[in-house]
Point group: C2
Chain length 337, copies 2
């Protein structure tokens, strides 16, 4: 069986030393033009590809980064990942994908494996970054950038959106349309990233207008279609009915929307619906749903840019980045009250 050609084979064929081949490969200027051409010819003839393992062993750089995310099959993560990979690709990095399912054990196992593979840096998406996470990251001495999350102590660079502000602006928008009974289908009350923050924003929006926060109008979901649907059914029983619902995720918003329609009511004529997230499909499959657009792609892209800066010792202007969001208004909440 024929083995892969190595630098030696190239050297032999080009009748030079392996050092010269190495120089040509790395674009060193101190090689005669004639020699360089001979070497390239040999490289092409043999279809030689340098071995990145051997290179990495010496350079202590692999041009590879790790990326630990909860679940790629979730449209969110997928957008972020695309942003990461695009920027990585531009800078000649490759990306190792790891699905954690938010399982701490798996996260830790991945960190170990990635360390062994000598990755240059790590991008980490998760719900909450605990002290154990932090310990592990520090111990690993890997450059880490957090996405869509942050650590309490602000030790690690991160990129995020301002969930409180986003929810507040959205609430104020609904108020501006004339709505006064605005229900809120929240994420889990113990989720510090996308749960309480958005709830807080909702409350702030009401309070800024001097309106009361009514407990009956606030229900807890878990971001899924099902809890959106169920909670909306409960809300429909209230007297008087809310005139608008703001859900902390698009999936819940769509669930709510279907619950409303199933009840024989109209969106937005009877009840306006506003979601949160803007996964790709919101705009494509559900072009009628109003939503708060989280720039998922940008979050990934910017996180990767930050990582690259760290890896190249470029200065980071900001360690904690908060990206602007966008309010996308469609039919589902476009009618003035």
């Amino acid at each position: 069986m024929i083995t892969k050609p190595t630098i030696k084979d190239v050297a032999k064929l080009a009748e030079v030393s392996i050092a010269t081949v190495s120089r040509v490969l790395n674009g060193s200027p101190l090689v005669q033009e004639k020699t360089r051409q001979r070497v390239w010819k040999a490289i092409e003839k043999l279809n030689y590809k340098p071995n990145a393992l051997a290179r990495g062993l010496i350079n202590k750089k692999t041009q590879t980064v790790g990326m630990i995310i909860p679940d790629i099959s979730n449209a969110f993560s997928a957008e972020v990942v695309r942003g990461i990979e695009d920027i990585a690709n531009i800078h000649n990095y490759n990306v190792i994908l790891c699905n954690s399912d938010l399982d701490f054990q798996r996260e830790m196992k991945y960190v170990t494996t990635l360390q062994e593979k000598q990755i240059d840096g790590l991008i980490f998406l998760s719900e909450q970054v605990t002290d154990e996470h932090l310990d592990c990251f520090i111990e690993s001495r890997l450059p880490v950038v957090l996405v869509a999350t942050h650590d309490d102590k602000g030790l690690l660079p991160s990129v995020n959106i301002d969930n409180v502000m986003a929810a507040r602006v959205a609430t104020e928008y609904l108020l501006g349309l004339g709505h006064r009974r605005i229900a809120f289908i929240s994420g889990p009350f113990d989720d510090p990233i996308a749960g309480i923050t958005r709830l807080t924003g909702y409350k702030q929006g009401l309070q800024a207008k001097g309106l009361p926060v009514l407990e009956e109008l606030i229900l807890e979901g878990d971001f899924t279609y099902k809890t959106g649907y169920r909670n909306m059914r409960k809300l429909l029983q209230l007297q008087p009915r809310p005139t608008a619902v703001f859900a902390a995720s698009d999936e819940m918003a769509v669930g709510a929307m279907n619950a409303i329609l199933d009840n024989g009511l109209k969106v937005p004529a009877d009840i306006a619906v506003l979601g949160f997230d803007n996964i790709d499909l919101t705009t494509k499959v559900r072009p009628r749903l109003s939503t708060i657009a989280q720039p998922m792609y940008d979050m990934g892209a910017i996180a990767m840019q930050m990582l690259i800066k760290i890896l190249t010792d470029a200065p980071l202007e900001k360690r904690i980045v908060k990206l602007p969001f966008e309010l996308i208004i469609r039919e589902s909440c476009s009618v003035k009250k």
Copy 2:
């Protein structure tokens, strides 16, 4: 600055040779229990992690595979990728993710880079596998498994669904409901994977019943929401109207659905709608759409299993796998004519 501990450091601390450390690391039985324990203690104390690059250099195995896909932010790919990663993870492989955007140049560049990184195998998703692709794969001598595509010559192992059969069964289902004027919104007529195949299945379904294939009922889209919407508008002008539409993608089906609703008609009372694909969101966000479920996750998982078998020299029962699909019937086409 403290450097990473190497096998030398462990050897020194445990007062053994590096060979012994290596044996312990690789679970060799010919190490005394006492020595083994001393070594493990040293490993833990130093928090030593073996360098996978050095290992790979010798073993010619990296426990890493590459995965070239068109676009991870597309819900399809994401499902497949999840299947791939899950199986890879079980077998202690990592996965390098590459987005090609179906650009041949990028695909080739990725293959080169992945080769340099000494991946053990490659999973390739694309629309069409050309002869150039084939040349490149063969030249690379990498084990390759194709997903959701195949090569004409059947040289490479692949996993797929039977698009013709799927579309035929779907058409027959609609016929079984009593529909006789069934429109078909096709994918591009020059797409050999998901275009003509599904169209063929549709035609076969009609012909098997002795029904004519009417050109006016067949329109060409490109799988997107927009073309579904537009084509449906055209179909609505026909006299008589079709009583059912079968779209070659869920996005087009949803587009068609909205066009029907916008026209003041009801689904499925006036017109039944059937899609194709079953991306995750179809079931979650669009629980009312009937569809042909392509087992995307399974395709990824099975492809990875095949690759693992190839890598471990296990026999492959089948080189060309065709997975069964599933007809998921929901409200959108549940009414008998």
